[in-house]
Symmetry: C2
Subunit: 373 residues, 2 copies
Amino acid sequence: MSEASVDSIRQGIDECDEQLLLLLKKRQQLVEQLAQVKREKGDALYVPEREKKVLARIQQQAKNIELEPALASDVMQRIFRNSYQLQSQMRFSRSCEQVKKVAVIGGRGKLGALFAEHFQRSAYDVVIIEKDSTNDEWAQLKLVDLVLVAVPIEVTESVIQQLTGLNKNCVVADITSHKQKPLGWMMEVHSGPVIGLHPMFGPGCTTLARQLMLFCHGREAESCQWLIEQFSVWGCLCREVEATQHDEVMSIVQALRHFCAISAGQHLLSSQADIGAIAQMSSPVYRMELAFIGRLFAQNPELYVDILLNSSQGVEVIESYSEQYQSLLALLKNKDRTGLLKCFNEVKEYLGDYAEDFLQESNRLLAAASERN
Amino acid sequence: MSEASVDSIRQGIDECDEQLLLLLKKRQQLVEQLAQVKREKGDALYVPEREKKVLARIQQQAKNIELEPALASDVMQRIFRNSYQLQSQMRFSRSCEQVKKVAVIGGRGKLGALFAEHFQRSAYDVVIIEKDSTNDEWAQLKLVDLVLVAVPIEVTESVIQQLTGLNKNCVVADITSHKQKPLGWMMEVHSGPVIGLHPMFGPGCTTLARQLMLFCHGREAESCQWLIEQFSVWGCLCREVEATQHDEVMSIVQALRHFCAISAGQHLLSSQADIGAIAQMSSPVYRMELAFIGRLFAQNPELYVDILLNSSQGVEVIESYSEQYQSLLALLKNKDRTGLLKCFNEVKEYLGDYAEDFLQESNRLLAAASERN
């Protein structure tokens, strides 16, 4: 092929790229127009079924023109994310006309501010209570329809104890990582509707679309429904869980995980490992794990330490993991290949189909991660 | 806004999507034409600088039309991946005209087959040696320019010991996860060029583009250069490392990591945790970690157990992690908040800027992961 025709192919590719960007822009503008209408109607920002339908259609169209369906759906999902991010910066509708005034205690904290700001953009009248709030400001709580407690776990109990004399229809909610104890405290101080929330996302997320909000009902579930609907309007996936099971699962998902990550950090420090060299030599999986360990230490130490200290079953779970670790270590020191294989295969059997699902899921993640060097 | 105009917006979005797919298809066809030319010239499949240049241009163009640059570059990177995958199924050029005949011992194993197949598609004459190979087949090794040892770690030493009487210019290479010992074995049996390889990817990857290939020179580095270039032609990122440092780093990146994951699996099994409930209640970070634990158990038990058993410093590192874990556990049991915070902050200081880098990197991954539910 001549140099001239190579140049003309290159030019053709550049033109495609330019058209692609213009098309993305045009689509974005159309979505914004549509969003305006949907917002007025109070529709949820993220509707999984609607997304699935669009993706199925796109994949079929891709097949028709012999384009890799996974490429089409990945590109479309990236476009969706952008669209959620843009819409998350706009105004939202209120899920319930009657509810107008909400208070966020700790509303200048990172996560508290995120909620306060979402309520404001949904045309609620928002009262923010902080450590330095005056008695007059606290007195406003008597008039609100929701008190959201978003303070550090260490002071959650004492703050909740101050929530006396609220309107009997006022919803009281907290967002701590444990649910049994805070629910008990809220039920004791307030005789109206109570709900425990656990947002499974941090203050850094750029949209609430697709983010998981766990909730445990305390009292008068139907009176709390508007709040769940409001989270849906913002794009959250809301999932009801039972408080006991929640706390059990969190001792693994949070306490043990954070503990192992802090231990891993301490281990790297104690062995004075060369982080740069490790990052350079890492497989994509380890590179991600290293990032998950490292990210903890860029965040608030108190938050993580207090989650650990307040976990009801944390110590138990952390000790139980350690027992498994020690018994595997004994096998390894004895060079007991058969014993190690037996352990491996027992877990394999216990996980069943989940193992293969996890392999597929992580392969997709790793492929996506390889694009982000 | 009227229902009619809502419908016309929706129709406009659908049309955008259709045009987008057609554009992706057109671009793909142009890239295929260009790839043909580049393949003839023996260019590398993946050239990071070229990618960076295209991305910088795309991001600038996006800014010009007030489109989110991250959207433009993410979409473009996904397109690149597709293009690498397609090109990886085509023929490759040989990096060196003089080298024609290569042997892969263990060439029907998963990773061995991947290499054998890549050599074949690069017009090499490939000899595959397996457990059941005849003496006549082994005798062919005398004529080859490369012997790639791709057998399980357990039998690597005994297989290497059979590599006597090779052509003095023949390159001998292995792909085991440890590098000091195999390099020693290869240097002892063969007096010509020797190189140790450690592919940081598994047999499941759909393209070698962007995949990391670590290598440690043994003898006659310049005679091994064609092999490194061949990996580059296939798209690998090749990185030279020193064998001692490699093995040190791998005791953390592989041995400790696999050990912790097997322990985590055993712990879930021993506590009969409900994997479904955990997956449903997980934050995106834990969901990924669960997938990384689970993926191990969908793979070859022998591979992981043998990497553990053969790691020279594995036991040492696994014990040292355990010591850190136990001392943190003691602090936790004493409810020593100050002590825990001190540990946390020491690691934070040691990681320095890496902590923030890891937070940013993992935030990008988490955002991408949220698209793949």
